[in-house]
Symmetry: C2
Subunit: 354 residues, 2 copies
DNA sequence: CTGAAAGCGCTTACAG
DNA sequence: CTGAAAGCGCTTACAG
């Protein structure tokens, strides 16, 4: 910077002001500085700036290993990165893939004094971990998690699930199963809230909640097959399956078809996410915008950092929307009749059964 | 740090040496410093350290928006992050999603003086861009790209494609199509090298290269359907399709089945990647380890940074392996016979055709 | 609008 | 093995 000052014939104070775009610099001085900076291809050392301002210009992002939910996390991170860049903040990534790394992170808190804010993506933190992060004494923003008293951004999963269920109900389905992942360590909130939405929609429609229609599956082919076996061996098969996430739904479609069940002719399948393959594989789904989630979170962190009046515990719930595709259809007429005979509120003039 | 020194009853010099684990500190002094640091929950300011050492402890990673290839990029980034963490380096992510961001990045070079090394993931850089990066005057490591004269880590795509092709050939296939993505902006190297491997394997087997069997498709259902239409309307259908990437292969299987063609009964489908859904959807594939790619690259950057003797232009090609699953099988006997009648080297004692 | 000077929190010769 | 002192490259009152 001293070189630039010398070349521009001004003091380093002026160079500093000029390169940061502070207003109180005469146009001539500014242009001389800009020329000199250009010629010497000068760039500010953030380290030096940080030392005096106490701001690093960086946001630490704590994220699980991406393979855990590659589409969601990858897309959300991309939105986050774009939002931070627009706010001129650098993104310092802390990727945590297992328990020992997790312990090490919260023990050493390497982000300390290294970032102006910390964002936590899709992590279900323990109370101790949350307290540890508070010690960093920087704003915290939670993504995909409702953290009471802290800023957070998340998809309105319950509303999304209700939306998806209403669609299936509108198609005429009355026996709708819900398939959840048995993985306990990842998106607990989402899974829980989606189940809430499932129940609410049933209630809205005046249908009973049937425990046997809610099944959990390990995230692999045998696991899914077993869960589907449970549904197919009920006294009465469901006419639709609302699956917690698209990647499971792909598998569900594949398993159903492999055992000769037509989708959607006999059973409709509805997913949640709008994974890129959903369009390819023609899966109806409740879309959530992972990108938007990340981008909104970046905007929130930026406003907390720059606007002292902003609410540091603001909650933002993002909407979802239904994307109907080829994996859903009205239930087969005969089975609709059966269902109508048994289900409490006979929706149309069809009746008589076993 | 001054507080720690006071509390420990030593100078800041000693504190500095102790917290960095420099050897020339007496055990008593060290333990006193450690106690004091603990009590005050002290952590070094990287900004201040950087200012004097000139090292930031950070590596900048330039990556396309993850949705472009979520599985590969996400997984590779995870491996990269783990490798950097092990080397005690922070990961500064620069996510570039469009041309204007790209231009802005290379214009401003925000990583300048902000990172000790720069890694470029899956970007096909122009010569000017590469020169711009050289101006940063830090080591460069390319991931998923062969950059002459610069360090790089990549999958051996040609060998992987040969491996996959040999498998199909060993099963008895003689008419094997190759389906590539028409997307021009992403993994050009991979696509090119996979095609090279395809041709080499044909040559090895003494089979002719047939232009009509190599098709390109847009990455959406209509695009894939059109490409498959081209193959199905050849005088003689292929008995196997080697697809450039798993996500396209899923679609290929889906399209083939939707038009009543049995996979693998009539046509075998082989992918490339070992995408997580490949196992679920029972797709045979040539596996590459994206995680390993990232992790290896992190190791390379770390060795370049710490070992002055390390080769700053080292190339590391990573292996692939075949994962046979249910989407591949020997060709149907009748069509094998036809193919044998036409193809140059009749492999077995089967012959006579149209 | 501009500059001289102090200081941010470290590390590192240097002297002991 | 330890400490006093200089200095890394900036920003920011302060005075003009």
């Amino acid at each position: 910077m001293a070189d630039v000052a010398r070349r521009a014939g001004v003091s380093t104070s002026t160079v500093s002001r000029a390169v940061r775009g502070v207003s109180t610099v005469s146009p001539e001085a500014r242009s001389r500085v800009e020329r000199a900076a250009q010629e010497l291809s000068f760039a500010l050392s953030r380290s030096a700036s940080s030392l005096v301002t106490g701001k690093t210009g960086r946001v630490a992002v704590l994220t699980p290993g991406l393979p855990r939910a590659p589409w969601f996390l990858g897309t959300a991170l991309t939105g986050l990165a774009e939002g931070l860049r627009d706010a001129d903040l650098d993104l310092l990534a802390y990727v945590i893939t297992d328990a020992s790394e997790r312990a090490a992170f919260f023990d050493r808190l390497p982000a300390r004094r290294n970032a102006d804010a910390v964002m936590v993506m899709s992590f279900i933190l323990t109370e101790e971990e949350r307290e540890r992060l508070d010690e960093l004494d920087v704003p915290l923003v939670f993504v995909s998690q409702h953290a009471p008293g802290r800023a957070s951004v998340y998809i309105d999963d319950a509303a999304g699930a209700r939306r998806g269920m209403r669609y299936l109900l509108n198609l005429g389905h009355r026996r709708i199963a819900h398939l959840q992942s048995a993985a306990v360590d990842s998106f607990v909130w989402s899974a829980y809230d989606r189940l809430v939405g499932y129940r609410e929609a049933l209630e809205e429609a005046g249908l009973p909640y049937d425990d046997a229609l809610v099944v959990r599956a390990e995230l692999n082919r045998p696991g899914i097959r077993e869960a589907i076996g449970a549904l197919l061996s009920e006294p009465q098969m469901p006419t639709a399956i609302f699956v917690e996430a698209d990647d499971m739904a792909f598998e569900v479609m594949s398993v159903l078809r492999s055992c000769g069940i037509d989708v959607p002719g006999q059973i409709s399948v509805l997913g949640f996410d709008d994974h890129p393959l959903a369009e390819m594989l023609d899966l109806s789904t409740v879309a959530q915008s992972a990108w938007h989630t990340g981008h909104t979170a970046a905007g929130l962190v930026s406003s907390i950092l720059t606007d002292p009046d902003s609410d540091p515990a603001r909650h933002i719930a993002l909407p979802t929307h239904l994307i109907p595709r080829g994996s859903t259809a009205p239930p087969p007429a005969d089975r609709l009749a059966e269902a109508a005979a048994e289900g409490p509120p006979p929706p149309g003039p069809t009746g008589d059964g076993a």
